[in-house]
């Protein structure tokens, strides 16, 4: 076991975690970014301070292996793996710990953030804009979203470092099921509210006939996006197709 610092450089690791996806690649996915974030926490293993201690270098190499998870929760894996290296956990067990965390951290983060917190606040911002709040709604979105974002990153890193190889306990924190139970329905309700209000806001300069055409276009587009054929249409393809069609109609219609 290596001595665990009374004040590990968690702040430095946190700063590096903000760029964890910068070197995203199809070979190791987020592995390089995870290794970069973990490196400051491994420096205690470098007993001669020259970066050439075998244990330090082996831990740095392991830290940069394949990894994928939700970027806001990756700190949990970074902290846990670094702590496990300090605690003298065998290398193969550290590798297994990292592999075991990929799935849960990915699905938990996707559910809570990408499919919950983010669309919930985005939809409420659209509602705010539609009701006349303007840029204030957008500023509030940034402030509230990032309060949760930074808090989650910081909690994850601290919890990972505190639990080490027993990090599974942190994943069973009662906050997660409660948050999931609230965020899913809240997001659904907020987006439902935002759609008609957003439509009203966007059609403000439209004439009456254009509003009718919009209703028909949106309905047809929705059906096209929901059809599950061999080729699945996405929003961008639908948008480009409809815009091209509108230009062609305008050109052909005298």
């Amino acid at each position: 076991m290596a001595p665990v610092s009374a004040r590990p450089p968690l702040g430095r690791a946190l700063l590096r975690l903000f760029s964890v996806q910068a070197s995203y690649n199809y070979e190791r996915l987020l592995g390089v970014g995870v290794g970069v974030a973990e490196e400051p926490l491994l420096r205690d293993l470098d007993t001669n301070g020259a970066g050439d201690t075998g244990r330090y270098r082996a831990a740095v190499a392991r830290g940069a292996h394949f990894f994928n998870a939700h970027p806001y929760l990756i700190g949990l894996a970074v902290g846990a793996a670094a702590r496990a290296e300090h605690d003298g956990v065998p290398p193969e067990q550290v590798e297994r710990l990292r592999a075991a965390l990929c799935g849960p951290l990915g699905s938990l983060g996707d559910r809570l953030v990408w499919a919950g917190w983010l669309p919930l606040l985005s939809a409420l911002t659209i509602v705010g804009v539609a009701l006349g709040a303007g840029w204030v709604a957008v500023a509030a979105f940034l402030l509230i979203y990032n309060t949760g974002h930074v808090a989650l990153r910081w909690w994850a890193l601290q919890a990972g470092w505190a639990h080490g190889a027993r990090v599974g306990a942190a994943l069973h924190h009662p906050f997660f099921p409660r948050a999931g139970a609230v965020l899913g329905p809240a997001m659904a309700c907020a987006v439902g509210l935002a759609l008609p209000l957003g439509a009203e806001f966007l059609t403000d300069p439209f004439e009456t006939w254009a509003r009718g055409a919009l209703a028909a276009t949106a309905a047809a587009g929705f059906i096209a996006l929901r059809v599950r054929g061999s080729v699945r249409l996405n929003g961008l393809q639908l948008g480009l197709g409809l815009v091209a069609g509108a230009l062609a109609i305008g050109w052909l219609w005298p």
Partner: protein, 227 residues
């Protein structure tokens, strides 16, 4: 009317920050179209256009769930380019032209993200022997180089979008009639509403949340009717 050079530079810087925020640093959601568009609108002195196009592309963004190595369009710099296009084109013309330029820029942005990840993969592959020795300097160098590549990529995508905006305004705004511009705006807003609804329903599924979605939709309709 073309934008003054200092505004183009400001939009280029903003679009680059927005493009880097999407994936690389720091993911604080300035890449969300609502934020990117509002700030771009403020820069050109037309927050209304920024908010309108921001809402259009924000709804299109609901179609995207950035999980795993999935490929998706990039709507942040696209929204900046869209707002630049809408400059001095009031009402439906601004929405239609802006959406056209924004959709094309979003497509190009998505392609460049995929290309950059392939370049990153090749760089990681080349550096594997060094990485396996635990060389922390090589690791950090690899990471920073990838970050700088993303800065260049985001800058190039924004520049291309602003170029499209500069070309679209004189080419199309004088040719399109009010009816043509309205059709264009209907197509863009229709696609955005469809993508917003379809993307959300994919997230919501068939459980309890579907009832909440229906309740929200009903509530929104009532608010619209009351207004």
């Amino acid at each position: 009317m073309n934008l003054p050079a200092e505004l183009v530079i400001a939009l280029l810087v903003w679009g680059t920050l927005v493009g880097v925020d999407l994936v690389s640093l720091p993911q604080m959601m300035i890449a969300r179209p609502l934020v990117a568009g509002t700030v771009a609108g403020a820069l050109i002195g037309d927050i209304g256009a920024g908010l309108t196009l921001g809402v259009v592309f924000e709804l299109l963004q609901y179609d995207i769930l950035p999980v795993g190595a999935v490929r998706y369009p990039e709507y942040g710099p696209a929204t900046v380019a869209a707002v630049a296009t809408a400059h001095a084109s009031a009402g439906v013309l601004g929405v239609g032209l802006g959406a056209l330029v924004g959709l094309l820029t979003g497509l190009i942005g998505g392609v460049t993200i995929h290309l950059m990840r392939r370049i990153n993969s090749a760089a990681v592959h080349r550096a594997t022997p060094l990485l396996e020795t635990g060389d922390s300097r090589a690791l950090v160098r690899l990471h920073v180089a990838a970050l700088l590549r993303d800065v260049l990529r985001a800058c190039a995508v924004t520049a291309l979008g602003l170029g499209l905006a500069a070309a679209a305004r004189p080419l199309l705004s004088g040719v399109l009639t009010t009816r043509d511009a309205t059709l264009l705006a209907v197509a863009a807003v229709g696609a955005a509403l469809a993508a917003g609804a379809a993307g959300t329903l994919r997230l919501v599924g068939h459980g309890r949340s579907l009832a909440w979605f229906a309740a929200g939709l009903g509530g929104g309709m009532v608010v619209v009717w009351l207004r």
